[in-house]
């Protein structure tokens, strides 16, 4: 019965709001729906249907529970070190460098990438696009404001990524919060984008998408792989989260792995 109710709830959200969670992994989805159900003090999932359909604010709360916003700047330093040492040098030949951070949550990843571009002296030729399905996250990302605790963690990651200066070079402090400097922000823009229902975004030299697709089932993941393939410039790079990897069939002629131990791929050109 519970599964039926959850299916009905997800179908209702899909029909009415165009948010499609029907193909998300059921284990993670169920955990988060349980959290939402008790927060709403309801007993049955079917009771959430009228609540969400007649009240867009509740929908926002539900979306915030279902799409999680856990991210850090320079999360997984070895990955960023690889980007600095191996990927950025090969981007120098482009007159315009587009980078897409897909599922960027509250903006930490796109700002990290933009900082790396500045350090490489490529900031003026580059633009980072941050997208997320969640409008609240996009709004927060556009602010570019992070708390002191977050900032000290990010600084540590930054040092471990092998970066040359101090992260505070790129921030100014106001009211005890760290705010991303304007020169960095000018080269980052944020859009709401849905990896499941929306199409190609912009042609990019580098796409980073970490810890987003692990919540998708296999069909949905395949949709996203194709979307990334179509959005990448020839020989462009795709960087995934530490625990993620491309399925073998994408490695036949579309991508090749360019690192032994990191989930980093390059678009292959055949024929």
């Amino acid at each position: 019965m519970t599964n039926l109710e959850i299916r009905l709830l997800l179908e209702a959200i899909k029909e009415h709001y165009r948010y499609d969670f029907t193909e998300y992994k059921s284990s993670s989805l169920r955990r988060r729906l349980d959290i939402f159900l008790s927060a709403c003090q309801k007993q049955y999932f079917s009771e959430l249907i009228p609540l969400v359909l007649h009240n867009p604010d509740k929908l926002r709360l539900l979306i915030n529970t279902l799409t999680i916003g856990i991210t850090e700047m320079f999360r997984d330093p070895p990955i960023f070190r690889f980007i600095v040492e191996k990927i950025i040098p090969s981007l120098r030949s482009f007159s315009l460098i587009n980078i897409w951070s897909a599922g960027c949550s509250t903006g930490q990843e796109p700002f990290s990438l933009s900082i790396l571009m500045k350090e490489a002296g490529l900031l003026n030729r580059s633009h980072v696009f941050g997208t997320d399905i969640n409008q609240d996250f996009i709004n927060a990302a556009s602010e570019g404001i992070y708390s002191e605790e977050e900032f000290s963690l990010y600084s540590k990651n930054y040092v471990e990524s092998g970066c040359p200066v101090s992260l505070s070079e790129y921030f100014h402090v106001r009211y005890g919060k760290g705010i991303v400097n304007d020169d960095i922000r000018k080269h980052v823009s944020f859009f709401k984008h849905n990896l499941v229902t929306d199409h190609d975004f912009v042609e990019c030299q580098l796409i980073m998408c970490s810890n987003v697709l692990i919540y998708f089932n296999k069909e949905l993941q395949n949709k996203a792989w194709n979307l990334f393939y179509n959005s990448l410039h020839n020989f462009g790079y795709l960087v995934l989260g530490k625990q993620e990897k491309l399925p073998d069939h994408m490695l036949v002629d579309r991508f090749k792995k360019v690192s032994d131990d990191l989930p980093i791929y390059q678009k292959a050109i055949h024929g």
């Binding site: 992994k25 284990s27 993670s28 955990r31 999680i68 692990i214 919540y215 625990q243």
Partner: protein
């Protein structure tokens, strides 16, 4: 009361002091141990899997795996949660990873694995909670007992960090509170019944 005659899957939670405790259990398991084992062992984000893999491969299991997204579980294998990711059962045979927020200040969280395994295996699950310095796993283990599964807790007196097993004992009465050797003996007996079934 759970029964080890029904066991088809074993889940183990361990934290501080967990490496020694896990070795203590694995070294007493019989050859050709069949029941799949899934472990959440709290370790550092940058911990060296190659080393752990080598160490844990000395024992009975044919496969010692760090769990990948959509990992299929098989007999004669032991699976470890990767650092910094939760693991859950997507269905009876498939493990998935998740990057959800910390639970009990932990990621991976033992509670998350236990609750999710319990939702699929119920009375066919054996849950084991070992040494650790926080209370992760107590709630999940209680859930396993409530669903009719078998529960075993390392005797806090013998645990390097007693808080974790102690936390479980404080909220319910597990089927067994014992030393590592006795816990591995229980696993060996469960394995005899499992072998007959398949």
């Amino acid at each position: 009361m759970g029964s080890i005659k029904q066991t088809e899957l074993i889940v183990i939670g361990a934290s501080q002091g967990g490496y020694e405790a896990l070795c203590g259990i694995l070294e007493n398991l019989v050859k050709n141990f069949l029941i799949p084992v899934v472990v959440v062992y709290h370790r550092a984000k940058n911990s060296d899997w190659n080393y752990l893999h080598e160490q844990f491969s000395r024992y009975t299991f044919k496969e010692v795996r760090e769990i990948e997204n959509y990992e299929l579980i098989k007999p004669r294998s032991i699976y470890f949660a990767p650092p910094d990711y939760h693991v859950l059962f997507e269905d009876r045979k498939t493990l998935v990873t998740s990057f959800d927020d910390y639970v009990n200040y932990s990621r991976p969280s033992i509670d998350i694995l236990f609750e999710s395994a319990c939702s699929w295996y119920k009375k066919n699950l054996m849950g084991i909670l070992l040494t650790g310095a926080n209370n992760d796993g107590a709630k999940g283990l209680h859930g396993i007992a409530a669903a009719g599964g078998y529960t075993a807790v390392q005797n806090p007196v013998e645990a390097l960090a007693p808080k974790m097993p102690q936390s479980a004992i404080e909220i319910f009465l597990p089927d067994t509170v014992a030393g590592l050797k006795e816990i591995s003996n229980l696993m060996n007996v469960a394995n005899i019944y499992f072998r007959e079934k398949i």
